[in-house]
Assembly symmetry: C2
Homo-oligomer: 233 residues x 2
DNA sequence: ATTATTAGCGTCAGAATGACGATAAGGCGT
DNA sequence: ACGCCTTATCGTCATTCTGACGCTAATAAT
């Protein structure tokens, strides 16, 4: 950190977004089709350059809005990690700061912007093949793993749900993100007994069929104590 | 991610290191005295520019070696977070990728390099005052919080210990990093009963006084199941 | 009304944890 | 050699948390 003269290479800095949602019984990520080389025609994570005088978080929020047109309040965004291998972009040295966003099932990506077409795609499909541009498969993998951990230690599973949701809807989120079945009764006990995890709205719904279920909002808790761990194996 | 032309500002990228160790009953961080403006004379986290054709992790490892002269094997290094507020460096736009390193109590920083003098300083002192350059107080705070969490969910407390250590030495690490007292008997039960947390060496030592204690090495576990949580409050 | 379906409560056994007693095995002073 | 101090390590017991699973409640469809 001693000299700022030009003998050190300046590099381009981008933000890339791992935007996850739960749709059609699958954990899905937002991907855009690349219109130019390299990786023309391949899927890529949405993202773009950090502008001058723009903070990283700010850039991520801007890209997210451009790409999805969602109201900022309803989406959880956090920094994921930074990727800067010299060869990750064949054109030039590019360091990218990846952000993880957890969103409820949104209408449809509002596209409209640069990216030809943006769409939700199951992460299992994206990670199974080799179709993602650059090192985006690695970034996506890290994002998915982070999301899985978040469900254990934080109440952020609710970020995948609508503003108001039932315990069963929240449980489906857990089951789909973790890829494991959970006992409905034990899950119900855990989330309702954990302080500040859920906040009852007083209303009920029958949209899941059967007996009416209470509707909840996200509680004020930041962390889960104790956590809700997957697999005791 | 569509055009790489020059209409986007290129920025300088640095790595900064939060190197933590446990010394003299306190959690300490490695800091260097700044020799030039801005913040001349203030303490700063060690760090430096990422060279061309150098990966981020690689740059962090290089800086760590330059600053401490330690054998790479004995130190745990992981990416912490990236900081890039437009105003964080008054001279120019600088994005820094912070790394967290957990080290055993090393002889003394080998200084020798650029940084005038490097030394260990208790994090409580560093965070109490306002003496850290740039946004390094925020970075350090994040690093300390990450370290505290790591102790809960991973066996990395051992990264603060020598190659071979006793249960009591490991417990002291927890107590100092968390700033809380732990019951020696319950701690002993937890760490010895958790699969692959510790690997017995067969040897014993009396360096802590009293009855000889078994020596252990870090086990192969990556995570703790179930975790070792602080405060049940 | 009957049935299907989901919500939500209750029970019980096993695991994990916190509090803490008791014993083991060294060093040390006398 | 002997007792004492210190720390290591094991054990007990009550409490809490979890997994497995039975049972009743409340609605929609028939």
């Amino acid at each position: 950190m001693e000299h700022l003269q030009g003998h050190v290479g300046k590099v381009a800095v981008t933000v890339d977004l791992v935007v996850l949602t739960v749709r059609d019984e699958a954990l899905c990520a937002l991907v855009v089709r690349r219109g130019i080389e390299p990786f023309r025609g391949a899927w890529a994570l949405p993202g773009g350059f950090v502008l001058e005088d723009e903070g990283l978080e700010e850039a991520a929020a801007r890209e997210l809005a451009e790409e999805t047109g969602l109201r900022p309040g309803s989406v959880h965004v956090e920094q994921l990690a930074t990727y800067g291998s010299p060869g990750r972009d064949p054109r030039a040295r590019v360091v990218t700061v990846a952000y993880l966003a957890l969103a409820p099932d949104l209408p449809v990506p509002a596209a409209g912007s640069d990216a030809a077409d943006a769409q939700w795609c199951p992460v299992d499909d994206l990670l199974a093949g080799d179709g993602l541009a650059f090192d985006h498969a690695e970034i996506l993998r890290d994002g998915v793993e982070r999301a899985r951990s978040k469900l254990e230690y934080s109440p952020l599973g609710a970020a995948f749900c609508a503003e108001e949701f039932t315990v069963a809807e929240l449980r489906r989120v857990y089951e789909i993100v973790w890829g494991a079945r959970l006992d409905p009764r034990n899950f119900h006990r855990k989330v309702t007994k954990t302080e500040a995890f859920l906040e009852p709205t007083g209303a009920t719904t029958t949209r899941d069929g059967g007996r009416p279920a209470q509707l909840f909002r996200r509680g004020s808790a930041e962390h889960l104590h104790p956590p809700l761990l997957r697999r005791t194996t």
